[in-house]
């Protein structure tokens, strides 16, 4: 044996021997959740990525929060609230027993300071809170907000993570501390960036008895398959984003349970209606008839989703009777014929690079459209570039999707269907004056069936106008070990770790 060989063999023996080191026993209950990406920041007003949002929701409270079904709001820090009859004021009554994790009570002054910060120019979310003209701490536990004009989505916006309530001293400081105080169920004990965030239960949480676990670790495992392997080995207790093709295998495992949550997300192909031939409604509808969406749900999602009738996720007031464009090649050809394009045409489609599902959708749509004589050239594009290119209108077709931050359909309609508003109907440049009017009307109508009716009309207009090829609404998959109860992905894509219980 040469000395090199000896050294190598010694290293192997040493390393293998370490495997036998026992892991210290813990009396505490620790729930380990495998996530794909780490959070970027704990500052609610500087947040734009989902992992940061999901972590913050474990640490901070908001005045109100979405119910687990995502259809309405429920009490959080505010145990009750009233809207003024003219829609221009809201009064919130705080829980008298709510405390930050250091034991200091949450007061109306903290709420006012936090909301002022959220509406300030340094907030990326200012637009959501700017309709508030005045904020008043009427007494230690009462806050009154006044508006210049009625703005119904406001209440939902107050349930957003960006409206998290921080101590006034931190909210008023020039720079938020790296680990701000919250009054939510958990406190950050340690954050090893890119590796894990260790959350421990907040002993002062107002919802007494919760959280049930002493510690919840968010463990970053970027590769989907590695996350599955860690779950199977028991190194983690639960994971989100199970690859669709592994769902049936995990479902069959006696040690695991799987879930498939209908989240606020819809996938589609954007059509640039400023460009020929997409300026013609008949062409856009023909493309919708020509794509076999049921095939995509089967082939790409392995059944984890449903065909979409429009670009909106299933949210409050969604009209279930609105039917998707059926797969009908004859109808598609007839519509192209009427548009004077019986011989078909050539076009190009942007495909986000590195997104396996988008690649599969692209190939399927390409072959579907070839059947009606539409030749689609696929152009891979890096996602950071895709936004700028479509915003400039420098494209023909583009695969994309939309998700909602709030449970109010107002936000997504404003983005996907209203032109100009914020994004020229998500860069499709499609415009429906009728829809624009309904949007303006809906925002000042009190929440209730009358407003719901407006959303249903808007959804139908979007369906008929077809500025997108509407594809599907995918679910978010997750899996957990059988000793876990109470873990679920909510329609808003987040989870409430305070509800998780571990059996021994």
């Amino acid at each position: 044996m040469t000395s090199w060989q000896r050294a190598g063999a010694a290293a192997l023996v040493l390393t293998a021997g370490l495997a036998a080191t026992p892991i210290a026993a813990r009396a505490q209950t620790v729930f380990k959740l495998g996530v794909a990406t780490d959070a970027l920041t704990l500052d609610p007003i500087a947040t734009s990525d989902n992992p940061s949002i999901w972590s913050q929701l474990q640490i901070y409270d908001t005045l109100v929060r979405p119910k687990p079904d995502g259809k309405a709001l429920e009490a959080d820090l505010a145990q009750s609230w009233q809207a003024g009859a003219d829609g221009r004021s809201y009064t919130f009554h705080l829980r008298p027993d709510a405390q930050f994790s250091d034991g200091t009570p949450v007061t109306a002054a903290d709420v006012v300071a936090s909301l002022k910060r959220a509406a300030s120019p340094k907030s990326q979310w200012a637009r959501f809170f700017q309709p508030i003209a005045g904020m008043q701490a009427t007494d230690a536990h009462t806050v009154t907000l006044t508006l210049k004009q009625p703005f119904t989505p406001l209440l939902n916006n107050l349930g957003l993570f960006s409206a998290a309530i921080l101590p006034a001293a931190e909210a008023n400081a020039a720079k938020l501390p790296d680990m701000p105080l919250g009054s939510g169920p958990f406190v950050v004990k340690e954050w090893r960036h890119g590796e894990r965030m260790v959350l421990v239960r907040n002993p002062h949480y107002w919802d007494h008895g919760k959280p049930y676990v002493d510690e919840a670790d968010l463990i970053v495992i970027g590769e989907d398959n590695s996350r599955v392997l860690q779950l199977e080995s028991g190194a983690i207790d639960a994971m989100i984003n199970v690859p669709y093709n592994q769902m049936s295998r995990l479902k069959a495992s006696p040690a695991l349970r799987v879930g498939s949550a209908q989240v606020f997300r819809a996938d589609f192909v954007m059509l640039n209606t400023k460009r020929k031939p997409f300026d013609d409604l008949r062409v856009r509808q023909a493309l919708n008839y020509a794509v076999d969406k049921q095939g995509l749900v089967r082939g790409v999602l392995f059944g984890n989703g449903e065909v979409a009738a429009d670009a909106m996720p299933v949210m409050a007031w969604h009209d279930a009777s609105l039917k998707p464009y059926p797969f009908d090649l004859a109808k598609a050809k007839a519509l192209l014929q009427q548009a004077g394009l019986g011989a078909g045409f050539s076009t190009a489609m942007l495909v986000p690079a590195g997104d396996a599902a988008a690649g599969q959708v692209a190939a399927a749509v390409q072959s579907n459209l070839a059947a009606i004589g539409v030749k689609v050239a696929l152009q891979q594009i890096e996602t950071g570039t895709q936004w700028d290119v479509t915003k400039k209108g420098d494209y023909q077709m583009s695969i994309s999707y939309a998700t909602s931050d709030t449970i109010d359909p107002d936000q997504l309609f404003g983005f996907l269907a209203v032109n100009p508003e914020r994004a020229d109907a998500y860069h499709t440049f499609w415009q429906s004056t009728k829809l624009n009017d309904l949007y303006a009307q809906e925002r000042t109508t009190p929440e209730g069936p009358a407003r719901g009716k407006m959303f249903q009309q808007m959804e139908a207009l979007l369906h008929d106008g077809a500025p997108y090829i509407f594809l599907y609404r995918p679910t978010t998959t997750y899996a957990y070990r059988t000793r876990v109860t109470g873990f679920a992905v909510l329609p808003t894509s987040n989870w409430r770790l305070q509800d998780v219980k571990l059996a021994h």
């Binding site: 040469t2 040493l14 390393t15 990406t37 090893r192 970027g222 700028d388």
Partner: protein, 313 residues
């Protein structure tokens, strides 16, 4: 003394190289389509919101001002604030540097440990069964995608045999070694596939040299000749292959980091490019450049140690 003077002069030479790299990194990022502010605001804000954020981040200032700020922040050692993380870039890098260095270091040690014995066997049993087996196995290892090989090893060694953890970085030096063994082994397999071939051919070439006959003639055993004369001479070219490859590995660990959930620099770089986090990408580029030049310096110093005829100047 000559060694020290040489090292110092090489370090001085690094400065213009690094300045050039900062300029290229800075300009490439600005040429790239996609804007950090509009990526951050996304669908949630209007053009006015994007403009306001650009102003807050200092992205609306003239390019040369931004470059001067970058140089100043680099000189101060902070590399500025990351746009996405809102923390000093140097802090971000410091947190991720250790896992990457452990991984690359362990992979290099393993590669050397694999290369020497197998290259000797291959050379001595040239074109016979052991040589063919080694060649086939390592060519296969080199052609396999790293993430797939990684997952296969996790399935076998972690899930079936429970010898190694499924993933992670561990704590304490022994914990790091244990956690990083499988990922380092995957990288080492790829490296050894190259170094075994290189060392094998060098050994074969050196074996026919006249001084080897002399060594035998003066009565040395085959093992002594191999160790003192053949390996020492043959290793010179392999050191340069190893050096170049390790420089490449440093920037290319992202796949392995992702499969084995290691919080290293590769993942940070990819995430930062996707977010157009200018400050973070610039800082990382400089750090990578420093590491690669340091490895090339170490390689040259390695020659001098192995081969006294190499003169450093």
């Amino acid at each position: 003394m000559a060694l020290l003077r040489y090292t110092l002069s090489r370090i001085l030479q690094m400065i213009p190289v690094l300045l050039g790299i900062t300029l290229v990194a800075f300009l490439l990022l600005r040429v790239l389509p996609g804007d950090p502010a509009s990526l951050m605001i996304g669908a949630r804000g209007s053009d006015a919101d994007v403009l306001r954020l650009r102003h807050q981040l200092g992205l609306d200032r003239p390019l040369w001002v931004q470059y001067a700020i970058f140089l100043r922040e680099m000189a101060s050692g902070s590399f500025g604030q990351s746009l996405a993380y809102r923390r000093p870039v140097m802090t971000l890098i410091a947190e991720r540097l250790a896992p990457t260095l452990w991984l690359v270091g362990l992979a290099t040690v393993l590669a050397v440990a694999i290369t020497f014995p197998l290259a000797v066997v291959s050379a001595l049993r040239r074109n016979r069964l052991p040589d063919l087996v080694i060649k086939t196995v390592f060519t296969a290892a080199l052609s396999m995608p790293q993430f797939w090989l990684g997952i296969l090893l996790i399935l076998l060694f972690s899930l079936r045999l429970h010898l190694f953890p499924v993933a992670g970085y561990g704590s304490g030096p022994l914990g790091h070694l244990w956690h990083l063994f499988l990922p380092a082994f995957v990288i080492a397999l790829g490296t050894s596939a190259l170094t075994i071939r290189s060392l094998r051919s060098s050994i074969i070439a050196v074996q026919t040299a006249e001084y080897i006959d002399t060594a035998y003639a003066k009565g040395l055993t085959g093992r002594m000749v191999m160790r003192r004369h053949i390996l020492r001479n043959a290793a010179v070219s392999t050191i340069s292959v190893l050096g170049v490859h390790t420089g490449w590995v440093i920037g290319g660990t992202v796949v392995i980091e992702s499969v084995f959930a290691i919080p290293g620099l590769g993942q940070l770089l990819v995430a930062s490019i996707a977010a157009r986090d200018y400050a973070a990408v610039q800082g990382l580029t400089v750090v990578f450049a420093v590491m690669v030049t340091a490895i090339s310096l170490a390689t040259d110093l390695g020659y001098a140690l192995v081969d006294p005829r190499v003169e450093l100047e």
